[in-house]
Symmetry: C2
Subunit: 151 residues, 2 copies
């Protein structure tokens, strides 16, 4: 799996091919996610002209791809999950633009709630996979036992 540790060739705005390479997807996939509203249209863009992406866009796509591959969710479910993420970006903007500590607390509590939802899904998966690993290991041990008995 490709990660963001691949340094982008340039720090400036990127085109869709580079973004696809950095996120381990394809241009078609990125356009499709834009089409169904999972990604917002990148910047203002005239019809037929090239899409231009920022480093923040790349990070968002990486997150989506990671969750898509590791949890078994539909893109609609994934959309609802990262809507929370989108909200978090919005939250940070609002967070920085206000000094009201009550509002600060509210925004932070929303963030923890979003993170907890994701953590719960991840932990459930880890448990299921660990159970599978345990079962396979047990089978392996049983076969090994028979092999030893043979020699």
């Amino acid at each position: 799996m490709a990660t963001v540790t691949d340094t982008p060739a340039v720090a400036g705005p990127m085109r869709i091919g580079e973004v696809a390479r950095l996120t381990g997807t394809t241009p078609r996939t990125i356009r499709y996610y834009e089409e169904i509203g999972l990604l917002g249209a990148p910047g203002d863009r005239a019809q037929g002209k090239h899409r231009s992406y920022t480093v923040a866009d790349v990070e968002r796509i990486c997150e989506i791809v990671r969750l898509r591959d590791l949890l078994g969710l539909s893109l609609e479910q994934l959309g609802r999950l990262v809507e929370a993420e989108t909200a978090r970006a919005e939250i940070r903007r609002e967070y920085r633009s206000t000094d009201d500590p009550t509002r600060h607390r509210e925004l932070l509590e929303q963030a923890t709630h979003h993170l907890d939802t994701q953590l719960e899904l991840v932990r459930r998966r880890v448990k299921e996979l660990s159970a599978l690993e345990r079962d396979l290991t047990a089978k392996r041990a049983s076969v090994d036992e028979k092999l030893r008995a043979l020699s």
Copy 2:
């Protein structure tokens, strides 16, 4: 996720609906897996007559469904993976029908190889998911920190 711990209503042969319920799938999915050769046709069956399944069939479908949900493989890849499983069933039959210890050893060593392939895939996934869990936990801790600083 449904598991085989749901005891089947009867111990005898089952129909497709019951099998679907026990394995957490649908009749359509089971027929589709048969169509693409992922499952062999259950018993000899005249055209248009009902399919009849055994407990062994249910266990095999459970395994397939479990691997399908937890690893992110295509049905073709999954087919190659459980071809090994199919081979194992065949192997057990041959294992019991021969007394040659050299042949026994060969068959057992094939079995360990198949199990190791599956274990490697499972462990890779566990690692990826653990990394994701770590990242999310770190984010959560950072938000918590800010919340404490506020009070």
